[in-house]
């Protein structure tokens, strides 16, 4: 009995004294291994008398359980210590920068197109497209601009000979489209009213100075049905500028003007405040010309195969680059086309920035990095 108590305290001391898992395991083998002290003790049970055997076995088992528990506890403690040491050793400087990732950009022109699609989409418009090189019928004649029309001279047109190796012939030449209005005609040729389209695209005019580039972008709109009036033209475009500039109220002014393809024609101005350093859209005592519009000229409807006595509608055209400049305060048109990475990074939009009326026209793609 004495013997047993002594054994217990000895073993417990050894367990407590184990300095690491290896040492603890050595102790375990020495106690519980095949030739361990406790195992040896167990082996002696066989030779014992029955009553002694039962009692000793009970004690030995109790001792064995105690010891195993102690081993377990010690093992956990040692494992925890070892893990803590490892964690200490594994410490790294989390203030280091992350591996480089480059966030690209969407060009402001693409963004404005998306915004315009979102707004007119909500007004029931669909997007129509057409070729950049146009025949003169679609770019001029069908739009009520016959060959000698002064308005045709006003647009500095780029011509492209219709045949490669023959002398240039102005009358048969193609043109780099001076507006996307030709798409109106192409749409009417292929679709019966009611028509509600916008026609985005690149447009070209031979003009290059501080405020003009030989290529720029436009979106044209066309509505044809039986009842649409100039009042709806005004409503539609006022709704558009409010949604586009994200302002509840923008003063709007329509001035009579002239375009061969509309009658009556008008230009639309929006209110703004001009100071020496900035231009603020909205209330102010200045006006800013923003788009041209009007009721579709009967000759244009006819050219598109639509009876002007039955159908009527309106059309408009907006400069996309100019909208980008006004909305996002981009000062110089020429910089749009220079591919300057600093400019693209500054004025561009995040890759996940998608335009909609449900999630916002812009700024919903997270922070720019």
């Amino acid at each position: 009995m004495e013997d047993m108590n002594l054994l217990e305290s000895e073993i417990m001391a050894q367990i407590a004294g184990a300095s690491d898992l290896k040492h603890l395991d050595d102790v375990r083998v020495a106690v519980l291994g095949k030739k361990g002290v406790l195992t040896e003790k167990m082996k002696t049970l066989g030779q014992m008398e029955e009553h002694l055997r039962i009692e000793t076995a009970k004690k030995l088992n109790t001792l064995k359980n105690k010891i195993e528990e102690a081993f377990g506890a010690k093992k956990s403690a040692l494992e925890d210590a070892a893990l803590n040491t490892r964690l200490q050793e594994e410490k790294i400087d989390v203030t280091l920068p992350v591996r480089p990732e480059v966030q690209g950009r969407i060009h402001p022109v693409s963004k404005i197109f998306e915004e315009v699609f979102a707004i007119f989409g909500a007004l029931g418009f669909e997007v129509a497209e057409g070729p950049d090189i146009e025949d003169q019928f679609h770019n001029f004649n069908a739009l009520n601009m016959p060959l000698n029309h002064p308005a045709r001279q006003m647009q500095d047109t780029f011509y492209i000979a219709s045949k490669q190796s023959e002398p240039f012939d102005m009358e048969s030449a193609y043109v780099a489209r001076t507006h996307t209005s030709g798409i109106q005609i192409r749409t009417m040729e292929n679709k019966k009213p009611p028509i509600r389209i916008i026609a985005p695209g690149r447009t070209y005019r031979s003009d290059m100075d501080a405020t003009h580039t030989p290529m720029f972008h436009q979106v044209e709109g066309l509505v044809v049905d039986k009842t649409t009036t100039f009042a709806e033209l005004k409503g539609c475009l006022s709704d558009f500028v409010k949604a586009f500039f994200e302002l509840d109220n923008i003063p709007v002014r329509y001035r009579p003007s002239y375009f061969p393809f509309t009658e009556p024609s008008a230009e639309m101005d929006i209110g703004c405040l001009k100071t020496k350093t900035e231009l603020k859209i909205g209330a102010g005592d200045d006006w800013l010309e923003i788009l041209g519009c009007g009721m579709v000229h009967p000759n244009v409807l006819r050219a598109g195969g639509i009876d002007p006595d039955e159908y009527q509608g309106f059309a408009f055209g907006v400069g996309i680059d100019r909208l980008a400049m006004l909305k996002y305060g981009i000062p110089d048109l020429r910089t749009f086309f220079e591919s300057d990475l600093r400019w693209l990074k500054h004025y561009g939009f995040a890759p996940l920035d998608f335009s909609s009326l449900t999630g916002g026209l812009n700024g919903n793609g997270g922070s720019l990095r």
Binding site: R202, T227, R253, S339, L344
Partner: protein, 797 residues
């Protein structure tokens, strides 16, 4: 078109102030671009009386005087010859800005005498041309009042006239419009008719009445072209930016701007024989007033004499027959030329003139006799002389245009109710003759309007006079939820952009034209057409681009020049393979050069390589909903790519994209050092997924059994394409092989010369039950056999 307020008021009786006039002009469609009011520059200037005028002690032409402004008496030195004791003029005190010099006036000291201000001339105040002396106001003008109150100041208004409003290229047309809009009353035109006293020695013969339906000619003898143009006329011309040349020229210019009525005056002594109005001969030479020589054609209209063309009718006079200071006998032409003829000839020879500008829009066909009378009156008044009888060739018969307007259309077309009486009133004020025909109003255009052809034109006339502000805006309505705005092929252009941007690329927009010198190497195989622009705006923008790459490379070049060496640029836009409409493709193209990022502590940054471009191309195809799993790769990219480091992604013959490293010569041409990766994805070639009948997905079948992955290493010829080996492995068994991944390519030690080792993992997926060892062995054998058959390769020992 510029005019001055006083000029306007010579036709318009009005009490309206400048601001009201300007606002009304814009409101009725005559857009005011600028208003220059000299009064705004005259703050601080005031009237003063010159007193105690004495000669400057040290000068034979300067005077010293006391300027009395009522509140102050200041010593002033004055150099004007017309200064007199007691005269009242405009005084500029020290500290004001002199408009003519745009300088602040300081205390001066002239030859020892101090001067505390200045007596001013018209020119110094920018209100006229006179600089011969100081302004002399009536003696009873009060002193000490602001200059703007007493001076005859004439603000200048600049209006943008639209091409349909040719009559407003004359001040009278503008006055008429203002009168119709309720701003005053149009004054009657008061032109004295001169009967003439003799037969013109020069006769007129018009051969082409189609192009020149009316020609009014008149000989005026003994004129004096050395006299001064009257001040009022000179002031008006100067104010609108026309230089005064001689009285005869000034008179024609004045009438051109007053009545929009072009005229021409020949020096009659230089005309040989009679005047013949005829079509020119092919190749006939003509030297115009602009001193340029033109080789005319048979569609040009010439005003000719025995020596040939002396004036290009309605466009520009000839150098040899113009008036000079010594001109004493003149021949006055007032004719009508057809807009089509003038427009064509003007365009053909690129001659711009005030006359062409008016003729090609519309010149009142009934203003020829009137214009001739007006010019005669002014010439006789200013230059003296004696007029011949008027000669009229052709006639002024003119069939006026007729259009009808239904008052109900104001509501149904414009959205505003206007009473029939109001419509009639507006049209009458604009010069139309109106009458009712049933429910329609018949409107006969006045001869000065050539633009009214249909009901819409009349609606515009009414609506611009009542004002577009009268129309109540009305939001558009629609019956159902709007349809999808973008078609799938339009939407995927948006998606592709966003995909490439999220891959770290910067979207740019470059011109659709490029330099033909640079574009040359970017023509695709089989492209024979070079789409050149006829008159490019500059030599390096002369071709519609056959590829997006040259402009992207120029962009890269500029960024590199600014010190940005890592460039990832892309653009989505058209390339042109032919000149006819629609011979264009929508391309998503990009270039990458330099490193993936600047160097970093984790050492992830590396040079871009072909596989970046390939990944971009594949990502764009995927973003465009392309069948990405079926894409095949061939190595036949165009020659501007590196022959050994480029490829085409295709579906059979259909090329979806090219990618690769650009040919070193291309980079060199753009002065870019280092390798440039590029891709071009032809979005139109990427097939759209077929519209599914149902949006529900195929049921997901999950296997209950674990898949088995086995690695293989094959030794194959170096020339074997990895893709073929992968395909062979994949095709070894269509039922059980679900994935093949290539994880190593190795050449060198233990691999024979001319060979390479390719290691792959093949994933086998059991379906009904777990594989037995035998099953796996069989499958592995199938892979080995298939690869061996396709590539002649064997398992690496």
């Amino acid at each position: 078109m510029k005019l001055t307020l006083s000029w306007l008021k010579s036709h318009l009786d009005t009490t309206a102030d400048l601001k009201t006039i300007v606002n009304t002009l814009t409101k009725i469609g005559l857009e005011v671009e600028d208003v220059y009011n000299p009064a705004e520059n005259l703050k601080g200037f005031m009237t003063a009386r010159a007193e105690n005028v004495v000669m400057h002690p040290d000068s034979d032409h300067l005077h010293v005087l006391t300027a009395n402004t009522g509140s102050e008496k200041l010593q002033v030195v004055c150099g004007a010859p017309n200064v007199q004791e007691g005269m009242v003029g405009i005084f500029a005190p020290v500290g004001v800005n002199i408009p003519c010099y745009n300088e602040i006036l300081k205390v001066g000291k002239i030859r020892g005498v101090e001067s505390f201000g200045m007596m001013c001339s018209e020119k110094e105040l920018c209100i006229g041309e006179d600089h011969t002396g100081i302004i002399e106001l009536p003696k009873d003008t009060p002193i000490g009042v602001p200059a703007a109150q007493v001076l005859n100041i004439d603000p200048v208004i600049e209006i943008s006239i639209t091409p349909n409003r040719a009559e407003c290229l004359g001040v009278r047309g503008i006055a008429r419009d203002l009168a119709a809009a309720g701003i005053g009353r149009l004054k009657p035109l008061n032109i004295q008719k001169t009967e003439g006293t003799f037969e013109s020695p020069i006769k007129v013969h018009v051969q082409c009445l189609n192009e020149c339906p009316t020609y009014v000619g008149r000989y005026i003898k003994n004129v004096n072209n050395k006299v001064q143009t009257p001040k009022w006329m000179k002031d008006r011309l100067t104010a609108i930016g026309l230089r005064s040349i001689s009285p005869l020229v000034d008179i024609t210019n004045y009438i051109n701007y007053d009545l929009a009525r072009p005229l021409h005056v020949f020096d009659a002594d230089k005309i040989k024989g009679d005047i013949l109005v005829r079509m020119c001969h092919e190749g006939e030479h003509f030297v115009a007033l602009d001193e340029k020589e033109y080789e005319l054609d048979a569609l040009s209209l010439g005003i000719c004499d025995d020596e040939g063309v002396e004036c290009l009718g309605g466009i520009m006079g000839g150098l040899s027959k113009g008036c000079s200071e010594d001109t004493t006998n003149v021949f006055l032409e007032c004719a009508l030329f057809k807009p089509e003829c003038i427009a064509r000839t003007g365009r053909k020879f690129a001659i711009e003139s005030d006359s062409r500008y008016r003729y090609e829009r519309w010149v009142d066909p009934k203003s020829n006799i009137l214009g001739s009378d007006y010019a005669t009156e002014l010439i006789l008044e200013i230059c003296g002389g004696e007029a011949s009888y008027q000669m009229i060739e052709g006639n002024e018969d003119f069939k006026p245009q007729v259009a009808y307007i239904r008052p109900s259309r104001m509501k149904s077309f414009v959205g505003v109710d206007v009473r029939a009486e109001k419509i009639v009133e507006i049209l009458k004020n604009l010069g139309f003759e109106t009458s009712f025909e049933g429910d329609k109003i018949k409107a006969i255009s006045p001869s000065w309007r050539g633009d009214i052809a249909c009901e819409q034109d009349l609606i515009e006339e009414v609506v611009r006079i009542i004002g577009l502000d009268e129309i109540e805006p009305q939001s558009m309505t629609y019956d159902n939820l709007p349809k999808q705005t973008l078609t799938p092929s339009q939407m995927r252009v948006v998606t592709v952009r966003h995909e490439l941007a999220s891959r770290g690329m910067f979207e740019t927009v470059t011109f659709s034209f490029t330099s033909s010198k640079l574009a040359d190497m970017f023509h695709k195989i089989g492209q024979t057409d070079t789409v050149l622009i006829e008159k490019p705006i500059s030599a390096d923008l002369d071709e519609m681009r056959p590829s997006l790459l040259p402009n992207l490379l120029l962009g890269a070049q500029n960024n590199v020049a600014r010190g940005f060496y890592n460039v990832s640029l892309f653009e989505v836009g058209p390339e042109f393979y032919g000149r006819e409409p629609k011979a264009q493709r929508t391309v998503a193209a990009g270039i990458r050069l330099g490193l993936t990022a600047d160097k970093d502590w984790a050492k992830t940054s590396r040079a871009f390589d072909v596989f970046d471009a390939k990944a971009d191309a594949l990502a764009a195809i995927a973003a465009a909903c392309g069948p990405i799993d079926n894409v095949q790769i061939t190595t036949d990219a165009p020659a501007y790519y590196h022959g050994g480091r480029s490829g085409a992604l295709r579906l059979g013959k259909n090329v979806l994209a090219y990618f690769g490293e650009l040919h070193p010569n291309v980079a060199k041409k753009f002065s870019i050092k280092g390798r440039v990766m590029a891709f071009e994805v032809y979005l139109d070639n990427v097939p759209l997924p077929r519209e599914a009948k149902s949006k529900t997905r195929k049921k997901l079948e999950l296997s209950a059994f674990q898949s088995v992955a086995k690695d293989f290493a094959f030794v194959v010829d170096k020339s074997i394409a990895a893709a073929n080996l992968i395909a062979a492995a994949k095709n070894a068994d269509r039922n059980f092989i679900t994935d093949v991944r290539l994880f190593d390519v190795f050449e060198g030690e233990n691999v024979p010369q001319g060979k390479k080792s390719i290691a792959i993992t093949v994933v086998f997926q059991p379906k009904e039950q777990t594989f037995t060892e035998k099953d796996i062995e069989n499958l592995m054998n199938k892979v080995i056999v298939s690869v061996a058959k396709a590539t002649n390769g064997s398992l690496r020992a």
